[in-house]
Amino acid sequence: MSITTTSTPRTGMLSRVLRSIAATCAVIGSAAAMEDGWANPVLDKFPTATVNTTGLATGDHWVTVGQLHSVTGTMAISETGSVEAERLAIKQINDMGGVLGRKIKIVQEDGASDWPTFAEKAKKLLIKDKVGTVFGCWTSASRKAVLPIFEKENGMLYYPTFYEGLEASKNVIYTGQEATQQILWGLDWAHKEKGAKTFFLIGSDYIWPRTSNKIARIHIEKKLQGCKVVGEEYYPLGHTNFNSLINKVKLAKPDVIYSVVVGGSNVAWYKQLKAAGITGASLEKDKRLLLTISTTEDEVRGIGGENVEGFFACMKYFQSLPNENNIKFVAAFNEMYKDKYSGKASIGDVTQAAYLGPWLWKATVEKAGSFDISKISAASGGIEYKEAPEGYVRIHDKNNHLWSKARLGKMRLDGQFDVIAESPELIEPNPYPEGYK
């Protein structure tokens, strides 16, 4: 992966010396970087002096954006897809002529799966690199760590992950779904279509699973007729032994096993479920099901399709969506990373949401006619993106989340999902749901 570095001037001898060492080494990497010979065809219409009034690192021919994900550490597994999707979108935008005639340069920073590092790098991107926007973060914790910095320094963050809600910052565009968008419709579906009455909620121990299960519990107990929660369990992140939990589930015999297990634990969880005789087929026989909101194509690749076949997931996007936008997107993704995945990339919900980020930013900048953060922030409401792989999306007028559909997929042996249901309308994002607190 080549890392494009900008030549932001630095003071201080020590850092200058180090920078020059780094620059020498980076020459190899920057061969693949963008040429500066690009001429901006619309420079007359959008002179730099008017589109960039706040001293962002943006010139006549290029605009700098930041990318802040974990490339190393435990979260690298999950965040790789987002990094790749954002790069694909940026490449496509550049091929189309860039944003306001300016091609996008990326400054990539590694959050190293460590929240203070995220904060430090966010500061660097905003203060030192003066990037026009940042695409990044994955876990809630990393977002929470950088949020005050984005608000303080007035930066813009496009955040791709489905998450717990309870937040709506003017400095963040949330391209993934907040909890209610993902949970409520899926539970309704399980209740109406499958006749489910009892639910067992399982999660990794941190804020997103806990908040999601809390919303799910309230919805099940208050909104669904005659339904109840028969168990709620949390395990530490990275936990790999679920036999006791599986026994509890067996004893409670819930109609729906509602799983919000994340990360590496997933593999152990599904493997052990299968070993204990709980499979998609065996559940179906008893008219029961396993419904997850945390397992995407990305995870299934590590788990192995044979372990999850027949389970259900509620997402807004599946790689197998048959619409034209998506077919083009998947093909482009496979084309760009053909050396890495030889045409068999797994693209999950978050990866797609990350792909939306650069496009939404482009549309917003063009609407605002400026790269200035405040103007982008003001122009964000109502921005549409019609070519989204998931279909049509639009930024909410007030809370910076996306209107999007929810879909149900059934997992297949090959690691893909059969899309078996789809919410009829776009679901309104509601990060502060009334009645779910």
Binding site: I3, R10, T11, G12, M13, L14, S15, L18, A22, C25, A26, V71, T72, E109, D110, A112, D114, W115, P116, T117, A119, E120, K123, K124, I127, K128, T139, S140, A141, K144, A145, L147, P148, I149, K152, E164, L166, E167, A168, S169, K170, D205, Y206, I207, R210, T211, K214, Y234, P236, L237, Y432, K437
Partner: protein, 385 residues
């Protein structure tokens, strides 16, 4: 005066080392690097408190704690709790902001509200008062260190066993902090801290001031460490490390001595944690766990486990290296750092300070010989306890 010179400054070479460090921290760095990097330095320096504590505890006392992150984290959480309550109280005044929309109960930390806690838990109340927070910041880690120390040292748990048990404690603590998210902010930690007694700690000026405060704290800790290690207690520590039985058969209660240094190290680490929060603006359980604790030992080992000043250099070099390499060559970082640890333990068990002491004076003499006729240049950097 003379005894002050000897016991606090550590004689001529000690004074030179301290002056060089102070100049570097208080003059050279602020003049040569920008505010962003300086803030990073402040963050690293807050880790150096632990490294200094480990010099006393591990280098001198021979007690290797792999759970020092626990105490560091407690200090951080105490400070963060205070700042968070202040932020929560102020948010009520900023009605109309985005945050206010999120809160059903104004005046308690936002993460509590997200977890349906509508009343401040009782153990959060002391953190409404700044003096009490400062006191608890020292008292809580010291008491925990005391309990652990008494329990283990009285039963003569030492060396490897102590290291592994402290590690387990640290881990248990992390799991607890993560799982009680309504009380502690869970894995997100305590974020979005804004003001300290009404002073906005996020402005560049404030960050600069905090950096200088951190430096002063570090120099204070070094002076304190110098003084302590120069007392009979300091020599007893060495004695305990090398000849525990002899100390015991000289009529000392070895367990008390070990507990004492462990408590001091805990309190000092805790102060570092508090400075970290001021520098960074949030606290996270990720910092309390095993990996950072091992890093802290490594800072100390790289700098020289017998050198208080070396520990500071060790922290700065390893942390800076980590940031630099992770910015420029993320993959290389692990290979490089792994090799450095192996190299340091195998070739330079005394760390940087040992290397400087070994190669410094001959080099200095050579330079002095070459430049005999010229006026003497700045003295070679000597790192001594």
């Amino acid at each position: 005066m003379n005894s002050f010179y000897r016991s606090f400054l550590g004689g001529r070479s000690g004074t030179v080392g301290l002056v060089v460090l102070s100049l570097l921290l208080l003059v050279v760095l602020p003049l040569s690097i920008d505010a962003f990097r300086l803030n990073m330095m402040g963050k690293y320096l807050s880790l150096a408190f632990v490294a200094i504590a480990l010099v006393m505890c591990w280098g001198y006392g021979g007690i290797m704690s792999l759970g020092q992150g626990l105490f560091w984290g407690l200090g951080g959480y105490c400070m963060a709790a205070f700042l968070k309550l202040e932020a929560a109280a102020n948010i009520a005044k900023e009605a109309g902001t985005d945050q206010i929309q999120a809160l059903t109960t104004v005046g308690i930390p936002d993460f509590m509200d997200w977890n349906q806690i509508t009343e401040l838990p009782w153990f959060w109340y002391p953190f409404k008062s700044f003096p009490l927070t400062l006191a608890l910041m020292i008292v809580i880690p010291t008491v925990i260190a005391y309990i652990v120390g008494v329990a283990m040292f009285k039963r003569r748990v030492g060396g490897v066993y102590f290291a592994i048990i402290t590690q387990a404690l640290c881990w248990a603590m992390e799991i607890l902090f993560v799982t009680r998210q309504g009380w502690t902010g869970g894995i997100n930690g305590i974020t979005d801290l804004r003001t300290l007694l009404g002073w906005d700690i996020r402005t560049p000026d404030a960050q600069m001031t905090i950096y200088f405060l951190t430096c002063i704290g570090i120099i204070g800790c070094i002076l304190f460490g110098r003084w302590l290690l120069n007392t009979k207690f300091g020599r007893l520590l060495l004695a305990v490390r090398d000849m525990e039985d002899r100390v015991r058969f000289s009529g000392y209660d070895v367990a008390n001595i070990k507990t004492m240094v462990f408590c001091i190290a805990a309190a000092m680490s805790s102060i570092g944690g508090a400075f970290f929060v001021l520098n960074v603006g949030f606290m996270s359980p990720k910092l309390v766990t095993i990996e950072p604790s091992i890093y802290m030992v490594i800072f100390c080992a790289v700098g020289g486990r017998m050198s208080l000043i070396g520990a500071v250099y060790g922290t700065l070099i390893v942390s800076f290296g980590r940031t630099f390499f992770s910015e420029e060559f993320p993959a290389l970082w692990y290979f490089l750092m792994g090799s450095v640890f192996i190299l340091v333990t195998m070739v330079f068990p005394e760390g940087l300070a040992g290397a400087v002491n070994r190669f410094g004076p001959p080099l200095w003499n050579k330079i002095a010989r070459l430049w005999r006729k010229k006026p003497p240049a700045a003295p070679a950097e000597e790192v001594k306890p």
